[in-house]
């Protein structure tokens, strides 16, 4: 099984979710994160002190899928999350040794 981690812009979450649903993926876990990269942050001011906020709000999406579904899922994500502007984010794919569904103790692809 593969784990796909995608860091995307927050307002793209809904579209990415729908795109994944279209390729048959109906389970995922999302986390609010802060991203640092080429996209530059903004300046905030507090009583005359200006400071740069480099960490921008992003959404991290984790989906574990069967090996054969990985490519489709990645495509779905990248095309839905793309705005063409800097800061669109990344997708990382890694391998998962085992998956278990807690409710039923099913394992492997069954568990997803």
């Amino acid at each position: 099984m593969k784990k796909i981690e995608a860091v995307i812009k927050p307002f793209k979450l809904e579209e990415v979710k729908d795109a994944l649903a279209e390729v048959g993926i109906e389970g995922m876990t999302v986390t609010e994160v802060k991203g640092f990269g080429r996209q530059k942050g903004h300046t905030e001011i507090y009583r005359g002190s200006e400071y740069t906020v480099d960490f921008l709000p992003k959404i991290k999406l984790e989906v574990v899928v069967a090996d054969e579904a990985a490519e489709g899922a990645v495509k779905a994500i990248t095309s839905a999350a793309n705005t063409g502007k800097i800061g669109d984010g990344k997708v990382f794919v890694s391998s998962i040794d085992e998956a278990i569904r807690i409710r039923t103790d099913e394992t492997g692809n069954e568990a997803l």
Partner: protein, 498 residues
């Protein structure tokens, strides 16, 4: 430490010039006289048994009393058109000296509630929002504990030491534990209990203001000891000097309608001294320390603003035209300062900030405080604008240049705003009947009171901090506590479980 003396020196130098320039003038010009009389009048109301104004200079006292009587007569003429005439009629009908006017009492009970609302919830939210998340409760608890503690101290000895007796610097112990104050005891046209409680709320908010200067790094036990000492040896004597017929009232005819000197300069200087003695917060100024909850800052500022009507218009101690005008100029000065601060930021930094507009409003409120009984709307605009600009410069430039860490700009807003207000109070006046405003140079008394308050509060604060240091084995939280946050370290709680 060096910074402390540097700042004090700058301040003093700023005042010596104008002071010398004024030396020649006689100090019996109109507004001064009125004020001295008014103070005398107030004192008379507060304690009708001590009719003599001083012990030492009997001649001067007699002269002062004559002036006071003249002023009172003027008042009584004016009152043909004011609510007082009814009372005069009544006092005639019943041949009694003092009576309670229900309208004045109604207003003063509410004004008292409004001033309490300034501290809790107003100030505590304002400061709490400015703090970092890990310290929000420590700030709130310090404001609450100050409220509780000062209530007790003011009841037990504060009121007596501030308001009774005719010492130059301190009152006496005649009214300790409110001896002699019953349900029927009267002060002016309101029950003495109301006057007492109203003044109590001032005794609460003044030390609470200081909390913002040393926030996020001082041990809670040290805070309580420091504030107790400062209250006793700085708040009470300055009160007595300015409002209790003491040194500044009697000799310098200081005009301080609602507490620019007694409250704001007094607290602002204490804050400056405390933050310098304590040293900077860990990471300051390298790490940004933005407010954790700006909406709280704005609600807090809004409650301060609304409550300030009680503070300023309440200081008239009656529901009349002076109170009405005090409320008006308070509103106008606050709005002007908020607007000017906002525009200054917009022009100088490119964006008007929420914290800025709130801070501007508070600066305007501070500056109008001493003037709120004597100034008109156009004077209020001038005072508000001046306060916004000077405080903006202090909080955003001077502070960084001098490098002290006044966490929430207590000195920058209350100290400096109070000084601006106290000085300009000596310039702008309004005529009662026509509303015409005129400029009058009455700066000398104002400058002297500012200087004396700065020195007095500065010295007392320094000593009080040293005493607290001895009692608490250091007044500063440990580095670990500071990193963890004072909420958990001092109070065993976290602000939010969101």
């Amino acid at each position: 430490m060096k910074k402390l003396f540097l700042i004090l020196t700058i301040l003093l130098t700023l005042f010596v010039g104008p002071l010398l320039g004024q030396e020649a003038e006689q100090h019996t010009d109109a507004p001064n006289t009125e004020e001295s009389a008014k103070t005398a009048d107030q004192e008379a109301l507060i304690d009708s048994e001590t009719e003599e104004l001083t012990d030492e200079e009997r001649a001067k006292a007699v002269a002062d009393k004559a002036k006071a009587e003249a002023w009172l007569e003027g008042q009584s003429l004016a009152s043909e058109y004011s609510s007082l005439n009814d009372d005069d009629k009544r006092s005639e009908d019943y041949a009694i000296d003092s009576f309670v006017v229900s309208g004045d009492t109604a207003w003063m009970i509410v004004a008292t509630a409004l001033v309490l609302m300034m501290t809790i919830p107003g100030l505590s939210l304002f400061y709490g929002g400015l703090a970092r998340r890990k310290n929000v409760l420590s700030v709130l608890v310090q404001c609450f504990a100050c409220t509780a503690l000062m209530t007790l101290l003011w009841t037990i000895y504060g009121y007596s030491v501030a308001s009774s007796g005719d010492g130059q610097f301190f009152g006496d112990f005649a009214k300790v534990c409110l001896k002699g104050m019953g349900v029927d005891t009267v002060s002016g046209t309101i029950p003495e209990s109301v006057y007492f409680t109203f003044q109590m709320t001032f005794a609460i908010i003044t030390p609470a203001l200081i909390v913002g200067a040393f926030a996020e790094r001082m041990k809670f036990s040290a805070v309580l000891i420091f504030l107790t000492l400062w209250f006793t040896f700085s708040y009470l004597p300055v009160w007595h000097m300015v409002w209790g017929g003491g040194y500044l009232a009697e000799k310098w005819h200081a005009i301080d309608f609602a507490g620019g000197t007694v409250v704001h300069i007094n607290a602002g200087i204490a804050g400056l001294v405390a933050c310098i003695v304590l040293g900077k917060r860990e990471g300051y100024p390298k790490s940004p320390m933005p407010p954790h909850n700006v909406p709280f800052v704005l609600i807090g500022a809004a409650l301060l603003w609304v409550g300030w009507f009680g503070f300023n218009a309440g200081s008239e101690l009656a529901a009349d035209g002076v109170a009405g005008m005090a409320q008006l100029v308070t509103q106008v000065a606050a709005a002007t300062a908020a607007f000017v601060w906002m525009m200054a930021e917009w022009i100088l930094r490119g964006k008007p900030t929420a914290v800025g507009i709130a801070t501007g409003a508070v600066a305007g409120l501070v500056a109008i405080t001493p003037a709120s009984g004597t100034v008109g709307p156009m004077g209020a605009i001038a005072i508000g604008a001046a306060a916004a600009l000077v405080c903006y410069w202090t909080a955003t430039s001077l502070k960084h240049a001098l490098g002290y860490d006044d966490s929430f700009d207590v000195f920058g807003v209350h100290g400096v705003g109070g000084i601006v207000g106290a000085l300009l109070t000596g310039l702008f006046f309004i005529k009662a009947d026509t509303g015409a405003e005129y400029i009058e140079n009455n700066l000398k008394g104002q400058i002297v009171s500012v200087i004396i308050t700065i020195i007095w509060s500065g010295v007392v604060s320094y000593i009080a901090l040293k005493i607290a240091d001895v009692f608490c084995g250091g007044i500063r939280s440990t580095e670990d506590e500071e990193i963890q946050g004072l909420d958990v370290a001092d109070h065993g709680e976290e602000g939010y479980q969101l």
